[in-house]
């Protein structure tokens, strides 16, 4: 059947219409290539053909779409082929005979596809590819219309390939921009980590992982310098065998980094000692530097691509250096934070272990910290103390408020001892010291209060005060060694007083009057005892037993005992004048003083125990007192012997005393 010209035209037009649809519908360049080649060969009645894409960077022709032949590896065309294609870029080449500029693998493919016409696909001066069309069906010649149609199709294909190339370029640029964005985000993340991650190990690992990922490295390690030796500590590794050999900071590569103040890219040509030690060829090494001091190094290995390993480049080193700079600052911060935390913990452990309560006040007077001893003394939980203003916390204690306030106003240390602490209880007594808190520049940043609970000491003092003078109590509390309450033999002076005729006198008095009379008498006598540091051992009825030399012995014990007795007799004269005015009978007493060895210590039962002295010396003292008449002071030989230079005595006739075979010498003080 004869095909009319109009039918032929309609056929070509419908082909061109289909071409438009292929170009619009296809998503991928492969779809375009396959669709266009199928349509082209169908339109011009050919069975074989191939569309090649030309890659400018590799100067290769790759198979985009083959039909009737097998797809093969990309071909490197002869240079002259590209030059000739340029010549025919607005038309086509009909291959009657194989031209000389088609050689090698390309020639083989041309022959295999039985290419009759080659259509260069050029966009301006840039070759995008070529379309090769094989023999027409049954060896017929191509008509000029066929060739025109081929040129039209090739023109549209060129446009489509160019568009595709543009899109691919945009996609590549997009990927490139995304990778740059990823780099920036990584740098940003690390800068955020500077203020958030404060664990050096965690930080090092995090930075290393990010660096490996962002630089497409196959593995990496972070090496830190040690103060004590040149071996670099492997603080973090990624994908790297832990067993690799030790690395010293004295290796040539690290010295070079230090000298040039920049990292290095190592390629197989370098053959350096680090590469040998790590058994790797491709490395990039950057220093971790903060405050101009190298803290260590980041080492990454093998830059990965889809086609294998390639060398790191300067851009990789720049990026790694930027990461390392950020990381070094972050790690320096973390290290500093760790040191501060440790120092803080050290201070806190000291504060919590001391018995002194420490309270700190901020500049506006609110409590911002308190140690364990402080909460114990305050008998409150820290959470109920911190945040309160001191004026609220100590509102019951005017003395304390005044002390804090004066330290605050005068900006000076203020101390006070034996302050009642009503905030805790009526019985609590403290020593308090308040000092300004100064910052490194010397500016006041609040106050520090040190408080010591002396309630127990105060109780001891108050208790002891009943028996000994304040001076003795203080001496005992200051030096425990002086206090031996366990029982010992010691030389003491004993003084006894006994009111003469008190029993008959008291019989005529009302009981309450008896008590008030004794209290008045004892009060004045005991004041004198304490004045001369005597220890009030006992009050038995109207009798006093005083000890000098226990619990604390001094050289003038006996002298003080005699002085006490003399002053007592003087004082009773004064008291009796008062009593006379009150129309009360006078009080008269005798005194006996002896010196000698006694056994001293806490004597009694577990429930009732007193510090006292026992022995013959005590008994003789009591006997001398019994022998003394009203207003008389009798002393033994031993007392007289050590005090005869200071006091005037009248020797009396020796007397018999109970428990002694021989008479004993007695001396009377001249008053």
């Amino acid at each position: 059947m004869e095909i009319s010209g109009s039918d032929q035209l309609e056929y070509y037009l419908s082909s061109l219409n289909e071409l438009g649809e292929i170009l619009i519908d296809a998503d991928k360049v492969e779809q375009i290539g396959a669709g266009v080649l199928r349509l082209t060969l169908g339109t011009i009645m050919a069975s074989k053909g191939v569309i090649f894409l030309y890659k400018k960077d590799t100067e290769e022709l790759s198979f985009l779409a083959p039909q009737g032949i097998d797809k093969a590896e990309p071909i490197s065309p002869p240079k002259k082929f590209v030059e000739n294609m340029k010549k025919y870029r607005y038309g086509h080449v009909v291959l009657e005979n194989m031209p000389k500029w088609i050689t090698g693998k390309l020639k083989k493919q041309i022959l295999e596809s039985k290419t009759k016409i080659i259509l260069p696909l050029f966009h301006k001066n840039h070759m995008l590819g070529v379309m090769c069309v094989g023999n027409r069906f049954m060896g017929e010649e191509y008509s000029s219309t066929d060739v025109k149609i081929l040129e039209i199709i090739a023109h549209h294909l060129t446009k489509a390939l160019y568009n595709y190339e543009l899109i691919r370029d945009v996609e590549d640029k997009k990927t490139e921009i995304n990778l740059k964005l990823l780099e920036l985000e990584t740098l940003f993340d690390i800068s955020v980590a500077i203020s958030s991650v404060l664990d050096t190990e965690e930080l090092g690992e995090d930075v290393l992982w990010r660096a490996v990922g962002i630089l497409n490295a196959s593995k990496g390690m972070m090496l830190l310098q040690k103060k004590t030796n040149p071996i670099l500590e492997r603080s973090a590794t990624f994908n790297w065998d832990e067993k690799t050999s030790l690395l010293s900071k004295k290796l040539e590569v690290f010295k070079k980094i230090e000298e040039n103040n920049t990292g290095v890219v190592l390629t197989p040509e370098n053959k350096g000692s680090l590469q040998k030690k790590l058994n790797e060829k491709h490395l990039v090494v950057a220093p971790l530097k903060a405050k101009n001091k190298t803290q260590g190094y980041m080492v990454l290995c093998n830059k990965e691509t889809r086609h294998g390993i390639e060398a790191f480049n300067q851009l990789d080193l720049d990026l790694l250096t930027a990461l390392c700079n950020q990381a070094a600052v972050a790690m320096d911060n973390a290290k500093l934070f760790k040191e501060i935390t440790e120092a803080k913990q050290f201070n806190e452990s000291i504060l919590s272990s001391i018995a002194t309560g420490v309270i700190t006040l901020d500049p506006i007077g609110e409590i911002d910290s308190i140690n364990l001893a402080g909460t114990t003394i305050m008998k409150m939980e820290a959470e109920n103390i911190i945040g309160n203003h001191y004026m609220y916390l100590f509102e019951k204690d005017d003395e304390i408020l005044e002390l804090i306030s004066s330290a605050e106003i005068e900006n000076k240390i203020r101390s006070e001892i034996n302050i009642p602490f009503f905030t805790v209880s009526k019985e609590t007594v403290i020593n308090m010291s308040v000092a300004p808190r100064l910052d490194p520049e010397g500016n006041t940043q609040g106050l520090v209060i040190a408080l010591e609970d002396i309630t127990d000491v105060s109780k001891v003092k108050n208790t002891f005060k009943r028996y000994v003078s304040k001076q003795v109590v203080d001496e005992l509390l200051d030096d425990d060694a002086k206090l031996n309450l366990g029982g010992e033999k010691r030389e003491v002076t004993i003084l006894f007083t006994d009111i003469r005729g008190f029993t008959s006198m008291s019989e005529k008095m009302k009981p309450e009057r008896v008590v008030s009379t004794l209290n008045e008498y004892f009060s004045q006598m005991i004041d004198i005892v304490f004045k001369y540091n005597g220890t009030l051992d006992k009050i038995i009825g109207d009798e006093l037993m005083i000890v000098y030399g226990a619990p604390i012995a001094t050289e003038d014990d006996t002298e003080r005992a005699v002085t006490t007795a003399v002053e007592m007799q003087d004082q009773i004269k004064i008291l009796n004048k008062e009593r006379k005015k009150r129309k009360e009978p006078p009080i008269q007493f005798g005194v006996g003083i002896n010196r000698g060895l006694v056994v001293s210590g806490n004597i009694g039962s577990r429930d009732m125990m007193d510090y006292t002295v026992i022995g013959d010396t005590v008994n003789l003292g009591a006997r001398l007192c019994s022998a003394a008449g009203p207003g008389e002071i009798l002393v033994s030989d031993s007392v007289w012997d050590v005090t005869k230079e200071k006091f005037s005595y009248n020797p009396l006739d020796p007397i018999n005393v109970k428990g002694k075979k021989d008479k004993i010498s007695v001396y009377q003080i001249q008053t």
Binding site: L182, E185, W209, I214, N216, T237, F238, T305, R306
Partner: protein, 114 residues
């Protein structure tokens, strides 16, 4: 860190791939190989459990993009769960999450992919 390993499990029609290690060239290739084998058997929905892959590089990402493209040809889907923040950020920036889905947990992922 040990070499990259993975475990492939079928959860009904969904293939769950649990990975362990650096998602780089080697890791990506192993994942794509596992996916393509399953795709040949007609599987089209894949979930990656990346709990034990804390680091990914751009080569790993490009391989996942290839998997996504292949899955698009067969109307399939790819999803992930248990992503480390760095990995999720990388996926977002590289545009993976436009064509695949990040889930918060395995149960959410299985429900979302059904």
């Amino acid at each position: 860190m040990a070499d990259f390993t993975l475990e492939v499990k079928d959860e009904g029609d969904i293939v769950v791939i649990e990975t362990n290690g650096y998602l780089n060239n080697v890791g990506g290739e192993k994942i794509s190989q596992a996916c393509y084998e399953k795709m040949e058997n007609g599987k089209t929905r894949f979930l990656l459990d990346l709990e034990n892959s804390k680091v990914v590089n751009s080569i790993g990402v490009s391989i996942i993009i290839e998997i996504i493209e292949k899955l698009q040809d067969v109307d399939g889907r790819l999803g992930y769960y248990n992503l480390a923040p760095i990995v999720e950020k990388t996926f977002n920036i590289m545009g993976l999450t436009k064509y695949s889905t990040v889930f918060g947990s395995k149960s959410e992922a299985l429900e979302g992919m059904s």
